[in-house]
Symmetry: C3
Subunit: 339 residues, 3 copies
Amino acid sequence: MTKTALKGKDLICTQEWSLDELELVLGLARKMKENRFSDRYSGLLRYKTFMMFFYNPSVRTRQSFEAAATELGAHAQFLEPQAMRLKTKSSAGETIEDAARVMSRYASGLGIRILEDKIEAYGEGDELIREYAEYATIPVINMADDKFHPCQALADVMGLREAFGSEDLRGKKLLQIWGHGALARSWCSVQESLLLNSRLGMDITLAYPPGYDLDPEVIQQVQANCAAVGSSFEIVDDSRAGYGGADVVYSRNWMSPNAYEGGFNKQLEIEKALKHRDWICDEARMALTNRALYIHPMPVDRGHEVTDGVASGPRSIIYDIAENRLHVQKAVMALTMGD
Amino acid sequence: MTKTALKGKDLICTQEWSLDELELVLGLARKMKENRFSDRYSGLLRYKTFMMFFYNPSVRTRQSFEAAATELGAHAQFLEPQAMRLKTKSSAGETIEDAARVMSRYASGLGIRILEDKIEAYGEGDELIREYAEYATIPVINMADDKFHPCQALADVMGLREAFGSEDLRGKKLLQIWGHGALARSWCSVQESLLLNSRLGMDITLAYPPGYDLDPEVIQQVQANCAAVGSSFEIVDDSRAGYGGADVVYSRNWMSPNAYEGGFNKQLEIEKALKHRDWICDEARMALTNRALYIHPMPVDRGHEVTDGVASGPRSIIYDIAENRLHVQKAVMALTMGD
Amino acid sequence: MTKTALKGKDLICTQEWSLDELELVLGLARKMKENRFSDRYSGLLRYKTFMMFFYNPSVRTRQSFEAAATELGAHAQFLEPQAMRLKTKSSAGETIEDAARVMSRYASGLGIRILEDKIEAYGEGDELIREYAEYATIPVINMADDKFHPCQALADVMGLREAFGSEDLRGKKLLQIWGHGALARSWCSVQESLLLNSRLGMDITLAYPPGYDLDPEVIQQVQANCAAVGSSFEIVDDSRAGYGGADVVYSRNWMSPNAYEGGFNKQLEIEKALKHRDWICDEARMALTNRALYIHPMPVDRGHEVTDGVASGPRSIIYDIAENRLHVQKAVMALTMGD
């Protein structure tokens, strides 16, 4: 696969890219990390513009994409929709078609983030990104929507490979486990992790309390991914059982499937979640694992999703993964937007 | 005229620049478009700062100026006045003199946008920009005020010349027509179009319903411009009559002269405008023209100012003109701020 | 002292840097001013990111730091905490440790501004910056907190040296005087001026009305600084007495020590300050001086802190000092963040 194979390609979910394409990204990301400010990679997008369109604010995504553009010689515009006079159900304004077509004239790439309180029903955020992608003639990168978060999953994989000292994740056991917490998060990071890590051959245990099912279509795809590579997938509803033999523990809060009934019930979700006080990743549970790595996409809700001891402990690689967001995003941008 | 002739010059209204000066801009803009990322033009403002001061937000103006700076190697600071502690009628703070003098020390150019709800009477926005220009020792660029919008008119002309395949617009008929709509827009784009296109020799029909007169001083200048080059200017109050024989149709909503009576009556203006449902540019009307081009400064209020069929039709050049904002602004910045 | 001596060093208060270190900054700042866009200095931080974290907005600090980054080839991210989902006393979110550790992975330096209404008690802002500095592995630069403002004092000194035509400020008399006004300002600029100028050997008269004492620990340090170099320090409570023989007058409003009793009483502070109408730097008072320079960190509250005649008069160097913010900050960034 040549380096120009990805030119112009949207990245909305890793499942829509071949493993070869994803490995091209991960390979370049590793080289970019090893040679962070070398001239070899720094000027690849010189004078180019990347537009970051944040329906929802996000510190890490904004910081890492903006730094990624800078390190490539490009500039990332920080755009918020309240200043954009877009058409909505209740007000006149510009259509997405017009916005996307014009942005395509100014920029070399467009990132969009939309989830949580900026949508009214699960799936709307992902749909909106796909509507932009339909009209844009430049690559559209999903900077997290209600369904998927491709750059997070790529950063996770990069971090796991570094920590294990091996590119091969097959046969490693990933415990993807719900944590209680006060942030009522969307499903994107968790679903993208399941989708990508299942394709890479990890054995996956998904654990959550009753009432916290994820998207059935995504789960079906994860099962198909596991079947295709011969790895295992199981769902448990116990806060402890999945830890046995785990090589990686990824604890994270997510909202229930009822979160959008009659609007986004954030407060209700938080109250409901906080009752499950037993769903926390702590030292005692980690002791049951195969010296598991601890991962999390951050921000970490310490004391709820995970104890301080685990999050700041020797097996936590949360900061490395956060850093890898920068490198995978640089690679994605260079490969989709560069020449 | 040498390339340094414009160094340090403010651009508040095209009428204040000679045609030679404007052609210098348009000529450079064309070359910059043909060689978008070439080293010849990309680094002209390297390490320089352009300050964009948005009293009113604007997506296209912000995106295009910020991208223009990036492509020239410069950086555009996105500044909003609520964070600037400026002195107002009712609160202590920094004077415009102090703000302008200090910005002149940091930046190589200053763009300002102020119109619509950020002023209390027609003309105040333009006055404010001129107050900044009085004290600033760097070029001040009008990024749209209540009276004028020079970069929009330059982008319009660039687009028309491209579409006609000729630099010579003399004798072409421009229908500048009011459209009903829900956005209560300032007069700047329309007035600047009349001013510049009249100087370039276009025959102009200005059409609007009773009660939507523009600035009488501007109209007088347009008449003088037409007289000077021997072209025609007429005003009609019919939503259909002007289309006959038109080479260019520019439909656009604008507010009435009463909009600022006792504050900015946006809602009232919208209600009043929406009653004129016959004032829309549609396929039937366009069929009366000389295969006219359709132009609009965007954002388009589709279904009010123009039908989807026309705005997205084969004779619409709205995206090309939007793109040209970038190129003319790059040229203006390079010529006024560069060495 | 080599140019790499400052690599990685935080700048929270000038008192914590040696005079040799500060002179390294001031020397480089002067060269950078003389060769503003030369290749010698322009690319020193190419492709690097500086994060500007504004708990409080500020026009001059933001403009000058952002321009400083641009002129060094870097990019300054403009970050506001409301978009950062940080943990507070009342809401879940990210800890400062996590935020600082991740920013250290993306950026080469971190600037923080926090004072006035964003704190609940004097000292909290400075404490917060020190908490970031504890966890960050990149240099942290104080962009003004409730106690200190190092870059302002460095810019002041640079401006005084330029205006006097001499590096040696020993024996010059500085009148640091309170002014009435409607902005209820923090103590940072004033305290930093006292701390730095006392080390440089200026004779200092501090003047303010009863009830406007500054931080006793800072005053004690200033006295120690003066004692160490053999210069004088006095405090007077008269709005006129200190002007006699002054070489530099620095008039500036500041809040009283009671400002944070039961929350930040901005309105009360303003009302209280505005009663002291005699505390203004005017032409009559300036006539008592040794043709004193007038300095102020801006924004100037004209008519309160100082008359227009003085602020815009021939001995005012307020714009030069404002410009020097850019140059000293470029030097600080290059020396602490560069290679």
